[in-house]
Structure formats: structure tokens, C-alpha cells
Symmetry: C2
Subunit: 148 residues, 2 copies
């Protein structure tokens, strides 16, 4: 990876988060993990990424406690990568990227994957930031302040 | 940038989105734009990124219609980068990264920036995916299907 300024001391949580998951492969791996992918070879097939890059990103995600390594669920000697609670909490990030992509990056009749409510089989609603009364808050209705 | 497989034909909206904004600098630029940064030199100061990389990412964000170039608001000969509607719709992505970082990447007493509701000055709520009744949906309560 290119040498880069670390954002680990950044007072902005967005900067710190991007320092950890702010490359395309890491978030694609997390996306695949949400879809049930668990093995190195399956991540590799899904993503078409070079093995050394995949190994590097998986190692980093394990070090950051986003994925954890488990023995294979079928009793073979393989091991599997599974989302931790910390990894699971990246769900809104992946959903937000999905919903933006759905809106802007597909033609109307183009094949695309959709996220459905498992219980009802219906489309999930649009995710949004809301105020205390449940009203949608846009960026210009918010302000960023530094506090302890 | 490293040569990479394009996800522009990916049926998954997450893949397509990450193809466009899936590098750390692009999302940090978008974050700064939400915070009111508009000029090349101000992005550079905020991010500490090399000028050639910043220029490349800004050009890409303009090409992708996430930022647009405007004459400087103060009448000088500078130009400014301003979020388009498409860029503005990345707000949930940035907020989701912020809230994950707030939860996992700061010590309790550590200085950090917070997102407040401008009208009330209060903290914004946690963003989450919700079902038709407004109940929070976790990843394991959803399923991904390919449809047209």
C-alpha cells in the first residue's frame, strides 16, 4: 500500500474509521462477509483480487477485530473468517453505500442485487439520519463540533 | 493508483459505489465538503495529502458529478468545489462511518468531533436501517437478492 498519513489521531471519527476500512477491498470483504462468505477462496472468487492483497486485507481486518478466525463449520481443516460484533456494526456503512449506488449507478432495467427484509420479503426503507422526532435530517441541518 | 478490477458492471450497488468513492481520500474530501471546505488549499491543509493525489481525486469527484466547480463566493479568481445533489446524498455514508468510529475508535474522554442537530444543538440519534414499522433491522434480518 502507498505510504500515507495516519488519521488515527484525527479528532474526527470519520477519519479514524476510514483509516481502518477506507479502502475498497476492506469494505468489499465486509460486504461479502455480510452475504455469508467465510473462506479465503470464496472471497477470492467473489472479488477477483490478488491473493497477496486479499491476505493483507484479511489480516488487517482480523487485527482490527472486525473479522475473527474460526475453525470451519463443516469440520474440515479450513478456517473461516466471521464478522465480530464490531464488524457487524459496519452494516449501516454498507447499507448506505448500497442505497446511494442503487439510486445513482444503475439504469432502470439493469440487473442489481437488492436488500430485503427477511421476515416480509419486502424492500427495506431508505436509511436516513433522523432528529429526536423521527424527521429526516439533511447535512445542512446539522453541525459538527469538537467536544470531549 | 494501483491497477484494479473495475466493479462498474457489478450487479451489487455496494461494489459500484466503492468503485467511485471507495478510497480513503475521496470520502475524506466529501467529509470536508460537508463541513464547508471548498478550496484546493483548504482541502490540502485539512487532509495533509500530496497535491497531485488531491488534484486527481478532486478531478474524479467532479467527473462523477459528486462535486461541481464554481467561481469563488468572494469574487476572487479562485474556484471552489461544491457538493452536487448526488454528492449531498452521500451524507448517510459519512454519518454511518462517523457513528461507527465514535463507538469503537475513541477513549471515553478523548477529544472528538460530534454531529449535532443545528436546530436544537442536541446530538443526532444513531442511524439504522428500519423495517416498515420503524423497527431496527440488523444484517441477519435481511437478505440480498438479485432482481431487475
Amino acid at each position: 500500500m502507498a505510504k500515507r498519513k495516519s488519521m488515527q489521531d484525527d479528532p474526527c471519527p470519520v477519519g479514524r474509521s476510514l483509516d481502518i476500512v477506507g479502502d475498497r477491498w476492506s469494505l468489499l470483504i465486509v460486504r461479502d462477509a455480510f452475504d455469508g462468505t467465510r473462506r479465503f477462496s470464496d472471497f477470492q472468487r467473489s472479488l477477483g483480487v490478488a491473493r497477496n492483497i486479499l491476505a493483507d486485507r484479511l489480516r488487517n481486518l482480523v487485527e482490527e477485530d472486525i473479522l475473527t478466525i474460526q475453525p470451519a463449520s463443516d469440520g474440515t481443516s479450513y478456517h473461516e473468517y466471521v464478522l465480530t460484533t464490531k464488524g457487524d456494526r459496519l452494516f449501516p456503512v454498507v447499507v448506505a453505500l448500497r442505497q446511494w449506488g442503487e439510486h445513482y449507478l444503475f439504469r432502470q432495467d439493469e440487473l442489481h442485487s437488492q436488500l430485503l427484509d427477511k421476515a416480509t420479503g419486502k424492500n427495506v426503507g431508505q436509511m436516513a439520519l433522523r432528529d429526536a422526532n423521527g424527521e429526516v435530517l439533511n447535512a445542512d441541518q446539522t453541525i459538527v463540533k469538537k467536544i470531549r
